[in-house]
Symmetry: none
């Protein structure tokens, strides 16, 4: 039985780039380690979720881990909360939130509290609390944006918004959309009363008022969602797993699946991320884990920024740090792929399939000689992201026999 | 419309073998007939059941014949019975059984009757009988092991064990686990009473007692299962089919599907099997059948034994006898594949995909020049075992038009 490392280069897939003489950033990159593994191992093009689906990082990472997003994906709410760094557990609910301004009659006078940009950390901390055994956690995002996660027993997402979505209307009481939602709605209304009180007394708002700026004295909630109930990874695969990622969203998904999440300030999720740190943390995790997922984010960032040469250099940086895994190939199955394509020309995600390679000692060769979007089309692997995990279990000697 | 021969080299797929200079046994084998057919026909790598599933011979042969094991596979009980050579029909139930020893109070004193190894054939014959229109058939396995098949109308597998699974406990009355199981439980208890009587009077047991060995005076039943209800092959595909195999399990599955099963003592299921006999019997069957499945078992045996050179020679032996089929390619579609991989290095089944070739006169070429685990990765066929039959129907001109 071998261990498994799944290396995700976020937004890896690309299309021919004019600046790269019609090659993709992956084709253009000097990538001796990836090419060695592709030629000695197996490769192919893999559709994320299913052919032609243009996935986000959330849905595709769920699928790569073997969780069908069509079943478990509960909408953006919880994933935006996780993207802000709020860890969620199965059963928790999350809202997208705005800091807003209401007058004494409870009428919304500004849905964005004057696009408040400073002090939201302090405000969030002041309204992070426990009520009746339920934990309310608020985390600020860009400007007036924030997320709220509620943890505790028997919560329901069958509740409405407090955000009236229009200035001049009264802030809404949270309504239960079904009988099941009643207790949760009551709890949220109790919390929102305290929120208004706490925020009104805040030093941040006193300062704002003294400058003639609107007070951020309420939290307008919308887009509730429940954290997906994922079958714990260690139970699903009989493996202990770890997740190494610079960005909170991926760590959040890992946490939700029960992976041990590893964080380090030197893993930034951007161009300046230290990939040696990532690999070191992965090697440490492999001492106690059977499975490690690593996400390299900057390929996606370069795609969104429309910078093919920068994307090339991120791929080269990643290729260079892979060597320690290669040296472990006697006891380690190495898989490299992306979560979706982010072509530099589009500056957005696309539904193009992803290059995938799987390498370990003793594996059959798969007929492709380099690792890129074109060569992998001739490789032997015909996998979707939904059956990648099962195939990795088989290659690592962990698949249970089906039948006799 | 052509006829079809489906040739299964059991456990064919392998991985690079050190003894074969890093080649697989199939790559290493002199296989001119297979290579001719791969280069003039179509080939590909096929996942058994689905990617990464490590199948047994039972589940994979079901899938190759177009029966989804996720729906029809009812657990090991019936397949172990079939493996001992008991033919089952849809609706029959089967138990795994031990010859055991009970005292006068019905307490189990030995669950294995002293690991009885001789005379179980005679004992089994003495308790093979008919009661109230139901047929009870017992067949011995290794040592104290046996299988019981019960045939007759409206049997249920909603019944418990008679085996208490512990020495010192009383042998259990078969219990109905639901109302549906009541009649079957009564019938089984009646049978087990007669079994105890018959076995107690047996000459085999008198001899054992005289030598101070424990009597094999009961049949301890466990692990009941119902024979899968397979849609009859001839109805499903509008073809008459035959199954030629040396091992009982495969003949059992063929029988269950309604294929005519061919047996011959010269087809042994091991290294000494006479493959010319198999091909002769197939050619005879093709006179009256539209479809013939042939299983060559020894490739799997060599894989389990970890003998790559022996596996190579089995493949060469099989290749040699294929010529008569080639001469019939004007009216015959020839498909060659495995049921699962049994890499010599692992000595066990793996989830690696299987080389597949399909050849007949007038078929399109599929871009691969030889038949092995690596070359087939570049072939044109993208089939799973679950849609192989449908494709063979199409290539043989037997697929019904879907639409107008």
């Amino acid at each position: 039985m071998k261990k498994i490392v799944l290396i995700i280069l976020d937004g890896l897939g690309d299309r021919p780039c004019k600046d790269l003489y019609g090659l993709t950033p992956l084709q253009f990159a000097y990538r001796p380690n990836m090419n060695f593994m592709a030629s000695r191992g197996q490769s192919g093009l893999m559709y994320p979720v299913s052919p032609g689906v243009c996935t986000g990082s959330d849905t595709s990472h769920l699928s790569l881990l073997g969780y069908d997003p069509k079943i478990v994906y509960t909408g953006r709410g919880p994933f935006e909360a996780m993207g802000l760094g709020l860890l969620m557990n199965p059963g928790d609910i999350a809202f997208r939130a705005n800091f807003g301004t209401i007058d004494e009659a409870g009428i919304v006078t500004d849905r964005r509290a004057g696009r408040i940009s400073q002090g939201t950390g302090e405000l969030s901390d002041s309204i992070t609390m426990e009520i009746d055994g339920y934990r309310f956690t608020v985390k600020p995002g860009v400007e007036h944006r924030a997320a709220l996660v509620v943890s505790g027993p028997a919560l329901s997402d069958n509740v409405g918004d407090s955000d009236p979505h229009e200035v001049g209307l009264k802030v809404k009481k949270i309504e239960a959309l079904s009988k099941e939602g009643q207790k949760t709605a009551e709890l949220l209304n109790k919390y929102l009363g305290i929120v208004h009180e706490k925020l009104s007394q805040s030093k941040v708002n006193e300062d704002r008022a003294s400058k003639g700026l609107p007070r951020a004295n309420t939290l307008l909630l919308r887009g509730v969602g429940k954290a997906p109930e994922l079958e714990p990874f260690n139970k699903k695969y009989d493996m202990k797993g770890s997740c190494i990622a610079g960005i909170p969203l991926i760590r959040g998904i890992g946490h939700l699946a029960g992976l041990e999440t590893v964080n380090d300030p030197r893993m930034t999720g951007s161009y300046d991320s230290d990939y040696r740190v990532k690999v070191d943390r992965a090697l440490t995790a492999l001492k106690t884990s059977d499975f490690v997922m690593i996400n390299f984010k900057a390929t996606d960032v370069a795609g969104h920024d429309g910078k093919p040469l920068l994307k090339t250099s991120v791929i080269e940086k990643a290729d260079k740090v892979l060597e320690p895994f290669l040296l472990l190939s006697d006891k380690l199955v190495i898989a490299i792929t992306g979560d979706h394509s982010t072509p530099c020309d589009l500056k957005e995600h696309s539904g193009d399939p992803l290059p995938l390679l799987i390498y370990t000692s003793g594996i059959r060769e798969g007929g492709s000689f380099s690792f890129d979007e074109v060569s992998c089309g001739n490789g032997s692997l015909k996998l979707g992201s939904d059956n990648l995990m099962q195939y990795l279990l088989a290659i690592s000697g962990r698949a249970e026999k089906y039948g006799a």
